[in-house]
């Protein structure tokens, strides 16, 4: 798996007018180019999945500690008969996992991404990205200095905990998805709570999107959004400006209005559509599955996600998770430390902060435990 820099784009897709339901704003994405030769489907509808991960090189015991329960898995198929391949890949064979609880049909799987048939791939949506996020700098400081507590030196960030809400707990989301009128040719969706971008989902074809539309309610969302999502979002009404004299003028004005929607939503989604660090998870005939995390900043939105792009850059699949502010800050702090070889003072300089400010940041996001008491002692003495 290789890490590289990339840019998240919505290549081959165009935003249409949003549909608002209470606090939820759903922006349909429609393909402007030919759909890629890929298909996506939900693996099996009634079996939640328990999964573990591959042993981590710096922390081999982690696979024993890692357990995730995921409500659904996706199958991605390619080739000329992708549709047939989908049903092949959606079937679970006996050897690849065991049924943990027959009554509730809970299955045990072993890996996040695995080949399901000759030309299909099974993976866990959103979870792939979140697992990547949790695994980031999981081993703890790579250089042991006196600044770090014994616990972080011994066990790293085990257990690394982040919390998120299921879509079912998001106010009005299920209703918004139900009443949303899927646009002709729609292949994707930008999901907003008021004007904060919660996530994006893109499927290869319109049929796949239609089949997976309701699954958005199983996705994860940052808990902090749920509180403000209780209020109704403003509805932006179309306006015809100027002084049209004929019906043709009115039509042109409406078309302009339509163009402005697209520009507007691209603008609102700019915190997702920017530079990101990506990691390739799978590469097959003409497409790449990768997980990414938008470029880290001290403030602002961060999105983690996974996507499939074809060779010409067309976005075939995308699913993102928006990090809460604290989660973003945590990842940013760890990243800053890692880039400074886990030297506190150098990390603070890199982040353009004073040392007390940087330490304060660490404490605020819940990382006080990883600093040795003598760091605070020294700060107090200064």
């Amino acid at each position: 798996m290789s890490r590289h820099r990339t840019r998240v784009t919505l290549q081959g897709l165009e935003a249409r007018g949003a549909q608002v339901w209470r606090g939820v704003r759903l922006v349909p994405l429609v393909r402007t180019t030919a759909p890629p030769k890929l298909r996506l489907a939900r693996a099996d509808v009634h079996a939640p999945t328990i999964t573990t991960v591959d042993p981590h090189p710096s922390h081999p015991s982690r696979s024993e500690h890692y357990l995730a329960v995921i409500p659904h898995a996706y199958v991605l198929a390619w080739g000329d008969d992708a549709e047939a391949e989908l049903s092949l890949g959606g079937r679970f064979t006996r050897d690849e996992g065991r049924v943990v609880n027959r009554e509730h049909n809970v299955q045990m799987r072993l890996r996040m991404v695995r080949r399901a048939s000759e030309r299909s791939l099974r993976f866990l949506p959103q979870h792939l990205a979140i697992e990547g996020l949790l695994a980031l700098y999981f081993g703890g400081p790579s250089i042991a200095t006196h600044d770090w507590s014994e616990r972080v030196l011994r066990a790293g960030f085990d257990p690394r905990v982040e919390r998120a809400l299921s879509g079912r707990a998001m106010p009005d989301l299920a209703d918004a998805l139900r009443v949303f009128e899927i646009v002709e040719g729609q292949c994707g969706m930008l999901l907003f709570s008021h004007d904060t971008l919660l996530g994006a989902f893109v499927a290869p074809t319109a049929d796949d999107y239609r089949a997976c539309h309701d699954d958005l309610v199983y996705d994860l969302f940052p808990a902090e959004i749920a509180a403000c999502a209780r209020y109704d979002a403003p509805v932006f009404h179309a306006r015809i400006e100027g002084s049209p004299r004929t019906l043709g003028d009115v039509r042109r004005a409406l078309d302009d209005e339509r163009g402005r929607w697209d520009a507007f939503y691209r603008d609102v989604a700019r915190d997702l559509l920017r530079e990101a660090d990506a990691e390739t998870v799978w590469r097959a005939e003409g497409f790449t599955l990768e997980r990414f995390l938008t470029h880290l900043r001290r403030k602002g939105e961060h999105h983690a996600g996974e996507r499939v792009t074809t060779r010409d850059g067309t976005l075939a699949y995308l699913k993102t998770y928006r990090l809460s502010t604290a989660q973003g800050r945590r990842v940013w702090a760890l990243d800053a430390l890692a880039r400074a070889d886990w030297n506190l003072a150098r990390a603070a300089t890199l982040a353009k902060l004073t040392l007390p400010q940087f330490v304060d940041d660490l404490c605020r996001v819940g990382f006080a435990w990883m600093l040795h008491p003598r760091v605070f002692e020294a700060l107090r003495r200064r």
Binding site: G17, A18, E181, V235, R245, E257
Partner: protein, 485 residues
């Protein structure tokens, strides 16, 4: 000031009549049943309190059964401060409305009034006058619980064995000479007697005797009403029983729903028959209320929300399809603009899909220069939101200020959240319709929704409708129910 109050009163009444035309307190695509019910409660209480006389007149305005039931309930439960003349007027309207309503609704209504604890001479007179028009032996079997409640609550006299039948606790040693009562008694013990009872009652006994579904449906078929036959088509197909439904008598909305319930292959093989039935259903409506229109363009909503809900599955689309057929038959020049842009598909194969972008289709319709543009939509526009009212505003302000082109919005859905306010702004008068039969009425009513006709005209309109209604359903002995009976 006077003008202002008049305008408020007119708008209130238009809103109320709209609610009565469309709302049935069932869940709609965008709203749940509870919200609908609450909004209706409010609208009814408000109008009944402020405009009592017009409230009663509305019974005659061609409103739906649910609304008629609500109005009669309101009128019969609160009548303390009325003058004798008012009582007489209301009594005649109520009696006519009860006669026009299906009996199961009337029995449910009376049960609700009894549950409210109302018992007075007026109610007794209304109930006994209505019961006099019914076949009591049949009703005693089919609506046994409701009739028993009513008779016990109001201390009514019942002829012959009816009382003994209604209040029979123990069937041992009881003999009835009325054939239907006797059949009911025997049905407790013998499976053959089940087929002498009305379908809805027989069904319970069939379960008790464990009669196989196909045998039961075959045997009970002659006892079914037309609606029961229609409703049980699916069950009959599953049980491989042929339950012929007389398509010639079905109204356009139900016909469309029936066609969509068929499997695709069957629908395609019976296309000609269904098409013919639709033509005849439309012709029936046109003979009942003649409608002659000039150049008409229609904007028809087949977006995803026309799917309706589980309770009213596909109903908005069925109404839209019916309106399409009616306008096509009634206009000298007609063109339909479906939101999906697909005008070739026959009505039988139409499916609700896509977003609601009314504005672009409205422009298509306006460009043909018609005399009348009819928009049939649930009014929830989202692609982009508000564009339709914006187009209409520009049309009225700049392009067609002389109103050469009329615009009417027919809404098959009552929007409870806005209490049924016009969804496309003030320039598209909105009238709700629940059925295709309502459309001629609705087009006539649109001038009040538009705000061009005055309150007096509206009053006169309701009075005329009331007179027609009384003439059609009024009592045969021309004696309105009085309190003295």
């Amino acid at each position: 000031m006077l003008l202002h109050t008049e305008r408020i009163e007119r708008e209130d009444l238009v809103l109320f009549v709209n609610a009565c035309l469309a709302a049935t307190a069932q869940a709609e695509y965008y709203e749940d049943a509870r919200g609908q019910s609450l909004a209706l409660d409010f609208v009814h209480a408000y109008v009944a309190h402020h405009y009592r006389a017009l409230y009663a007149r509305t019974l005659a305005a061609g409103i739906n059964h649910h609304a008629q039931g609500r109005i009669v309930f309101e009128l019969l439960t609160a009548s303390r401060d009325l003058s004798p003349a008012q009582r007489r007027d209301e009594g005649a309207l109520v009696a006519a409305a009860l006669r026009a309503l299906p009996p199961q609704r009337v029995y449910r209504l009376f049960e609700a009034i009894c549950a409210r604890g109302v018992s007075n001479r007026r109610l007794r007179a209304v109930a006994s006058q209505w019961l006099a028009t019914r076949d009591l032996a049949f009703d005693a079997v089919k609506y046994r619980r409701a009739l028993r409640t009513l008779v016990a609550h109001l201390h009514l006299r019942t002829p012959g064995e009816t009382g003994a039948f209604l209040f029979a606790r123990d069937l041992r040693g009881v003999r009835f000479t009325t054939p239907l009562f006797d059949a009911w008694r025997r049905a407790h013990y013998a499976a053959e007697a089940v087929y002498e009872l009305p379908y809805s009652i027989a069904e319970g006994f069939a379960r008790k005797h464990r009669i196989p579904r196909e045998r039961f449906l075959e045997g009970i078929a002659p006892r079914m009403t037309a609606r029961e036959r229609y409703r049980l088509q699916g069950a009959a197909t599953r049980a491989h029983v042929d339950l012929a439904v007389d398509l010639a008598a079905v109204d356009p909305t139900r016909l469309a729903l029936y066609a969509w319930s068929l499997a695709r292959t069957e629908r395609e093989t019976r296309a000609a028959e269904l098409d013919d039935a639709m033509t005849r259903a439309i012709a029936r409506i046109r003979t009942r209320s003649p409608l002659a229109l000039g150049r008409v363009s229609a904007v028809l909503d087949d977006s995803h929300s026309a799917r309706g809900t589980r309770e009213k599955h596909l109903r908005p689309l069925a109404v839209t399809v019916g309106v399409d057929a009616l306008l096509r038959a009634s206009a000298s020049h007609y063109r339909a603009h479906w939101l999906s842009g697909d005008e070739r598909t026959p009505w039988m194969a139409r499916r609700p899909r896509g977003a609601t972008g009314v504005a672009a289709r409205l422009l298509d319709a306006l460009e043909e220069g018609p005399e009348l543009v009819v928009i049939v939509s649930d009014g929830y526009e989202n692609d982009p939101p508000g564009a339709c009212s914006e187009v209409l505003r520009v049309l009225r302000d700049r392009i067609d200020p002389q109103r050469r082109m009329g615009v009417v919005h027919l809404n098959p859905v009552f929007e409870a959240a806005t209490l049924g306010a016009p969804s496309f702004g003030p320039h598209a008068p909105m009238v709700c319709v629940r059925d295709v039969d309502d459309v001629p009425t609705a087009l006539g009513f649109a001038r009040f929704a538009d705000g061009r006709a005055s309150l007096d005209e509206l009053r006169a309109y309701l009075d005329t409708r009331a007179a027609e209604f009384l003439a059609a359903h009024g009592s045969t002995d021309s004696e309105p129910p009085t309190e003295a009976s």
